[in-house]
Symmetry: C2
Subunit: 238 residues, 2 copies
DNA sequence: TTAAACAACTTGTATTTACAAGTATAAATT
DNA sequence: AATTTATACTTGTAAATACAAGTTGTTTAA
């Protein structure tokens, strides 16, 4: 019954090394073991090891230097919401709380939706929910999410208190976020946004419109996120 | 004398396919030739072809689907400044003009610089310049750049009118931007920012602080970019 | 007619091997 | 002592091969 899909070796090594870097077993400026050493240590061949290292480099955990080795980066991850992908959670190690503002419920899609929708999506209707995310007690994100109601039975009756939306999708529906695209704007806070983020009207807030792709063909997750960057800024790599 | 460093095969294929996608030879929704076909067409082996395709997928030009093939994405690239990397230029195919506000000149680093600096950088002093970038006649980016004055002879006397800063660095100093990190905030426009971007004071603008890595060890390029997202929004992938 | 099984594709993962190219250290030479 | 050279590392590129796993269309059997 359980998914238990075999995890590829390069993914396992990626997770191990990532965990070690996050846990400060490897610190900023340290050199990772050489590729050949990693091969010996974990019983893999070099292409496999290199795939893990390439992914780590891509996510900014290491920098590779030809002739030298892999330098651990371990940068001060502020709020890495821009680099959500795979197993990386949206926010670093900070104290993050989530408050549900609008519980998940089925509704028709809003008119003039921020992204074009497929016919299948339009016909299915959407599950809508709104959440406020607090970092160290401060409201920082006001997140309005939409997802097409395709093959997601009993979704609206699940409890979202402790687990993230991503976790629910992954554990109960085997839906994984693979990547996505987003638009970013600076706008003035008003109405619900200023109220939820405890901001004076007219304050500048960041507005992200995101479309996230999943491993399920034709199933996307959409978010409109208002972000108070006064205290915490958004961090990303490119 | 010329660099003429041999370009790897996977890079060549990447450039060819990217060019074809941008030139609409492959259109949105099209399927790329299969990996084996590409091997035959370009006389490469599958690992090489796969490396090119992986890079394309990473940059959002294609989406790979196991069992099916490589789907061309060709998304509406608004202003993809978030996805600058390698050969990709900062702005899509729009009419972009650059106006120099402060010509490159040598100066000491500002106090409380936005990123920590190495000793070598501090001792070298920095080259500072300010530019305004106009998209379709509208001022959109106000860009303040800094770079350590390390091995960049006669830099301040070069002409920047037509060529981008990246192009100058690449062609005259063999310096290539490899990637970087950035902080993003929404702030209120004021002073020079509102003036250059033709905005009323208090309007919301996007503020990016970027640190770009180069192929030269210890040489970084820093930018503080103010961006009017009223008309054009910033686009990115993750 | 319908449904299951199969075959022929596709991409994903992994091994093995080889050499090129960049870096650092130690040895040899001047 | 200072410089050059050799060497032993490192990562980068590339080939040839094998099988797993997902997708699609066709054939076969009920």
């Amino acid at each position: 019954m359980s998914p238990e899909r075999s995890v590829p070796q390069y993914r396992k090594l990626y997770e191990i090394l990532r965990r070690h870097i996050l846990d400060n077993i490897y610190s900023e400026g340290d050199m990772l073991p050489s590729e050949n050493e990693l091969c010996r240590l974990y019983g893999m061949t070099r292409p496999t090891v290199r795939q893990a290292l390439a992914n780590l480099a891509n996510d900014g955990f290491i920098k590779k230097r030809q002739g030298k080795g892999s330098l651990v980066h371990r940068f001060s991850r502020e709020i890495g919401i821009l680099s959500v992908s795979g197993t990386t959670s949206a926010v670093g190690e900070r104290n993050l709380r989530t408050r549900i503002i609008v519980k998940p419920h089925l509704m028709p899609w809003p008119e003039d939706f921020m992204f074009p929708l497929t016919l299948l999506e339009k016909e299915s209707g959407c599950i809508h929910m709104e959440r406020l995310r607090l970092v160290e007690q401060d409201p920082v994100f006001y997140d309005i999410s939409y997802i097409a109601s395709i093959n997601l039975p009993r979704f609206t009756s699940r409890k979202f208190e402790d687990r993230s939306l991503f976790a629910i999708l992954r554990d109960h529906y085997q839906v994984e976020i693979k990547g996505g695209e987003q638009r970013i704007r600076a706008i003035k806070a008003s109405g619900k946004t200023s109220r939820y983020l405890s901001l004076a009207k007219g304050q500048a807030v960041l507005h992200l419109e995101r479309k996230m792709e999943t491993n399920v063909d034709g199933l996307f997750l959409y978010s409109s996120i208002y972000c108070n960057t006064g205290k915490y800024s958004i961090f990303g790599r490119f």
